[in-house]
């Protein structure tokens, strides 16, 4: 375990991001919330925050841009992608456990399997992610209900834990290990007292999370429950206030669904665009002839829960929710996934008794 002081950490980030882009969490004074901001000039801002909890923005947009062209056609290059170096190196510092785990889940879809999205893969390869511990839990955080911890467990190249005067540092990948080795003059050996301090903060955040979420059921136990024969009334009730805005899927760090559409660039050239899409809106699965497998809003709200907690565990081996709570924060109808699970579990339990 290494220790790096604040001055050297700044030097470290500067070196890592030379010739590329650097993003760090910055605390916005008016809300107190953290936002990922691009740093183009050093020194780092005073309100840089490696403490607190996750940023408002998820990480997925670094590899899967909101909207970008994937093909210009016809083209003399055909389907060859020659310009593989067009993407910048990106260093993201201060990513929290929920977002690191989420990025790995999106990787499973976009990179693994028979097909790879080459654009996602190229951007992802150029990302160096530095994880950070949470020092507090947000109002809507529930990572511990999924059996996760509020610190980097996986998916980070390097992990930092803020302690007095600087950070404890650990490598998570060979790339991270290499980056530390190449800058070893910036690091010192961590002291026992510093590790104790880190562990105390961690224990406190876990305790806070447990306390905050004590009224809710374990989310990682919901897969079996929603697979049970639940009627649609519970989904009608859960979705009754939904306004179909799609904010929950857009802000979700694991929601990866997209649409391809074409547009003209001139009379004889066309461009295919990749854009995020939301399964919550009416037209998402609607086919020609107005056939729609999920015509009702409650079908679509239900689909979001089932996709994350039932279908993806079957097809990709994991629940696609990391308990970041962003969907709860953003919902203008105050739909709270934790509370929905409580209602579903109560309903399922009530049925069993009856």
């Amino acid at each position: 375990m290494h220790f790096i002081d604040s001055t050297n950490f700044e030097r470290f980030l500067k070196k890592l991001s030379t010739g590329g882009e650097l993003f760090v969490p910055v605390r916005r004074a008016e809300t107190g919330k953290l936002h990922l901001e691009r740093i183009e000039l050093f020194p780092l801002p005073d309100d840089l925050a490696l403490d607190g909890y996750r940023t408002v923005e998820p990480l997925k947009g670094f590899a899967q841009l909101l909207r970008y062209p994937v093909a210009d056609y016809p083209s003399t290059e055909g389907d060859d992608i020659s310009d593989g170096n067009a993407f910048p190196n990106v260093v993201i510092a201060g990513a929290r456990g929920c977002d690191l785990a989420a990025m790995q889940l999106v990787d499973k879809v976009q990179v693994e399997g028979e097909f790879t999205d080459p654009f996602y893969a190229m951007r992802r390869d150029r990302m160096l992610v530095i994880g950070a511990d949470c020092s507090e839990c947000g109002e809507t955080c529930f990572c511990t209900l999924l059996g996760a911890k509020p610190w980097p467990e996986k998916g980070h190249d390097i992990a930092v834990s803020k302690v007095q005067g600087g950070c404890l540092v650990e490598a998570g990948t060979e790339r991270g290990e290499k980056a530390i080795k190449e800058n070893k003059e910036l690091f010192a050996e961590a002291r026992e007292a510093q590790i104790t301090m880190r562990d105390e903060i961690r224990a406190k955040v876990v305790k806070d999370l447990d306390e905050k979420n004590k009224a809710y059921p374990r989310a990682d136990g919901m897969t079996e429950i929603i697979r049970g024969a639940l009627n649609d009334e519970i989904w009608d009730a859960i979705s009754s206030r939904c306004v179909e805005c799609g904010a929950c899927t857009n802000i979700c760090p694991t929601c990866y669904c997209f649409l391809l559409y074409d547009q003209k660039t001139d009379r004889s050239h066309f461009q295919r665009i990749f854009a995020w899409d939301s399964c919550q809106v009416t037209g998402y699965a609607r086919m020609a002839g107005m056939l729609n497998p999920r015509p009702r809003l409650s079908d679509r709200v239900k689909h979001r829960f089932y996709h994350k907690y039932d279908y993806l565990p079957l097809s990709h081996g994991a629940i696609y929710c990391t308990g970041c709570g962003r969907c709860i924060d953003t919902c203008s109808a105050s739909i709270d996934m934790r509370d929905s699970f409580r209602r579903i579990k109560d309903e399922a339990g009530g049925k069993k008794k009856a």
Binding site: A71, G78, C257, L260, A285, A288, P293, Y311
Partner: protein
């Protein structure tokens, strides 16, 4: 690295009007495309976008491909307005295709409705390539009215292809000058002279027809693992990534589009 989103330039050589609403597009892609019966292509109309279609032509031909399309939406409107000589684009093939290995040595029942005969045509070509591999190939087809019957020019050829092949056609409602069978395609499944235990049934057609064909097949004694259905969902990427063609936890674009009914029978709203 290859760009899986790029549509391969393809020439529309000829267009055959099959019915007032269905046309067959005879395509020559700029490089051969190998597909298995039942696999689908994403067909691009430049500037209008793409839509998924299963080729209706013989899968053993790779230089040319035919796709038979009902005019029913934005992309198909644009397709139907094309003239021979037009440029379109192809991506694919995607999906698993029909379970040809499971059909070997069996009595294969093929049930089509309307434009649903289009994907089945590529299956029929594959089956008739070597009919001896199957105990029997029985094709049942129905359309609403005689004018909407697809590929009428081929029925006789199919019916006489081999002694173990038969082809029966029906229309939904009586029509002048029609002397053939009248009744929904499900009526062709009454009194089947097929050895059910040794049979595989494959069906393609509109959702409502698939639903009633499935119910009928179950009623006459087929078991869910013996039934394969060409399911319909909106598709975009074709690669199991964009997330919209799910039936339960299956993505039709990688796990289908022909699904064994046994796998999807418990999915809510499976027939839309």
């Amino acid at each position: 690295m290859k760009n899986p989103y790029y549509p391969i330039e393809t020439l529309v050589e000829d267009i055959i009007t099959e019915t007032p609403t269905i046309k067959t597009f005879c395509l020559t892609p700029s490089r051969p495309i190998k597909f298995k019966a039942g696999q689908f292509m994403q067909l691009t109309v430049p500037g209008h976008g793409e839509a998924p279609f299963t080729p209706s032509s013989n899968p053993s031909v790779t230089e040319k491909m035919e796709i038979t399309i009902l005019r029913t939406g934005k992309v198909t409107d644009a397709l139907h307005a094309l003239k021979p000589g037009a440029e379109v684009g192809l991506r694919g093939p995607f999906g698993k295709g029909y379970p040809m290995d499971k059909m070997e040595g069996k009595e294969v029942l093929v049930v089509g409705g309307g434009v649903g005969l289009a994907p089945l045509r590529s299956l029929i070509y594959a089956l008739l390539e070597n009919p001896k591999k199957y105990k029997r190939v029985s094709i049942k087809y129905g359309a609403r009215v005689p004018e909407e019957l697809c590929f009428r020019r081929l029925y006789e050829e199919w019916a006489k292809a081999a002694p173990n092949v038969d082809f029966t056609v029906t229309i939904d409602v009586p029509a002048p000058n029609w002397t053939g069978r009248v009744g929904l395609v499900t009526t062709l499944l009454d009194g089947l002279d097929i050895n059910l235990e040794d049979s595989i049934a494959v069906s393609c057609g509109p959702e409502i027809m698939l639903k009633f064909v499935t119910l009928k097949l179950l009623e006459v004694g087929y078991k869910p693992p013996q039934i394969y259905l060409s399911m319909n969902r909106k598709m975009s990427c074709g690669m199991g990534k964009c997330g919209r063609c799910n039936v339960g936890h299956y993505y039709l674009c990688v796990d289908g589009p022909d699904m064994c009914y046994d796998k999807i029978k418990n999915v809510q709203n499976v027939f839309g």
